[in-house]
Symmetry: C2
Amino acid sequence: MKKRYSYNILFQFVTEVFFKIGCKKADAELIAEVLLAAELRGIPSHGLARVKTYLGLWEVGRITLNNEVKVVHETLSTATIDNGNGFGMLGAKKAMKLAIEKAKIAGTGWVSVLNSNHFGIAGYYAMLALKDDMIGITMTNASPLVAPTWSTSRFLGTNPIAVAIPAENYPPFVADFATTPIAQGKLSLIERKGKKCNKGFVQDKEGIPSTNPAILKQGGAIVPLGSDYEHGSHKGYCLGAIVDIFSSVFSGANFGPFTPPQVAFLPLSEKSTGLGIGHFFGAIRIDAFRPASEFKKSMDQWIETFKNAAPTAGHEKVLIPGEPEKQNTEYNLKNGIDVLPDVEVELIKIAEKYNVTIYK
Amino acid sequence: MKKRYSYNILFQFVTEVFFKIGCKKADAELIAEVLLAAELRGIPSHGLARVKTYLGLWEVGRITLNNEVKVVHETLSTATIDNGNGFGMLGAKKAMKLAIEKAKIAGTGWVSVLNSNHFGIAGYYAMLALKDDMIGITMTNASPLVAPTWSTSRFLGTNPIAVAIPAENYPPFVADFATTPIAQGKLSLIERKGKKCNKGFVQDKEGIPSTNPAILKQGGAIVPLGSDYEHGSHKGYCLGAIVDIFSSVFSGANFGPFTPPQVAFLPLSEKSTGLGIGHFFGAIRIDAFRPASEFKKSMDQWIETFKNAAPTAGHEKVLIPGEPEKQNTEYNLKNGIDVLPDVEVELIKIAEKYNVTIYK
């Protein structure tokens, strides 16, 4: 008797759970809003499935509630924020808001965050810049599961990049992607179905290409975007490294292999090179380079040009980044969110444990 | 009787050629310096091979000599520069210098360039920021040869990204890569050897994967980094699109399919969406986010960590971006530059045509 849940019901539920464990109301609402933004956009790996993992991190004392979020370094166009080991959303939203304020004065604003945790989908923060006629940029480092080219060492995360760019009449261009061929969530899904994965996603502990989606549990690693050296995986390694450095060396968070895993069942690294995980945010006023009206007109023209690219056989059209996610959002707001069966079971247990009602 | 040419001999030769056609001495020297930086770093596709193509563009009137380079838009941390249709190097170097000046005051500086042409290797400009204890970033759009995922339309260039990051005791981290699995120059090399290329580099005019390195002449296209949708080519498409938008929609240059080809034998697009090709430059003070000494110490630690990653069988070690190019530079400065045989023939013809001596 599977039924879709309305956005409002889920928002209320998630808010109440985080309020119950001791978060301030506004903080609990922000966590709910970001997790549900992922569900709306059709990225359930970063949505309600994280309620259980976030609670798990809090239960073992890895996350600080009611953390102080403070600016620790600043220039006209930049700042560094210490998130006080709180939920990633709290420092991340303040960082993007500060980047936007800096951009209003300096043309651009750039904020790095240390001492943080998983912040949900990168695209949520990048998109916050759009309403002020700005481009938004987000990066974060993440649990180390990716091996550099020619290595067996799990030294990088799937380290995503998100870029949101406003247009005039078309919806914004919103790219939000991991710097690996596949996200960890999708690998788990293949594993649960008992299937093999394509070559070019993972390698075993010796660095030999594998099709076993469970190979990460046996010392294997995800490979960088490009899959192998021949196809440019060293470029994916560069990208993942740049995201790691911008997120953690700028801010003073842990980098690479020392990035704290964002699940309670994985141990922390014995060595530390900073505090928590790190993020990086940017806001660029569209009128920082040319008049806003010209920029928007040109961006509309760009989108129209690429929408009209000739599709290959079997494909209706070429996609503009962010287009499918926008359609998913509209559909899910209207028809409700289709919660994954495993996640629904988890949420019902959480509802009982924390004595919060989940309405259907 | 193949012999290596010394850097100084080649620098003098290239400078004289461009001086002879009417460039100012300083401009001719800069063109020579950038082209030879590519030779030194071991990237001959962007080195002396371009002397002939640049002259070809000038001969058909596609490049303006002694162009005016002017700032046309500005904020505290940003600017847009019109390169007056001159050689790309001229506007590019001024743009990076302006980005550095902006960063001295605002923490970061970002400059877009319109009305420009091919500027050589992206890494050259990114590295200019290093001596001021800044991170340098370069992007450019390029001749349209790459099809978006699920398309047969050649709408993007190989659109490179370069990022140079200073350290304390280690050489800087310098990433400089196309957002495609293979550069066009390497494809030509495979073709000249009469070999087939790997799957995952190019597709035919119907969008079907091909192993023919000459397929671009038959309406085929290079694919984005990731090679196919299954392996994340939509992420490579996003990257190429972001570089295109930052380089051309910011500045008002031509974007995507309208980007003027940087070889004289390919016709210009009938439609124009701006002026020339576009570039984008960034400079970030390393003390914009934390004290410089802390940043450099942490960057040294990052490099040391990744240098010590466990290599896979058959590989001695994991590479830090920029390491092989630095070794090439030291070797080539000491032992001379090994000019490609085809290119040597071209240079000798150019020496005759423009009455310039090329010493051996």
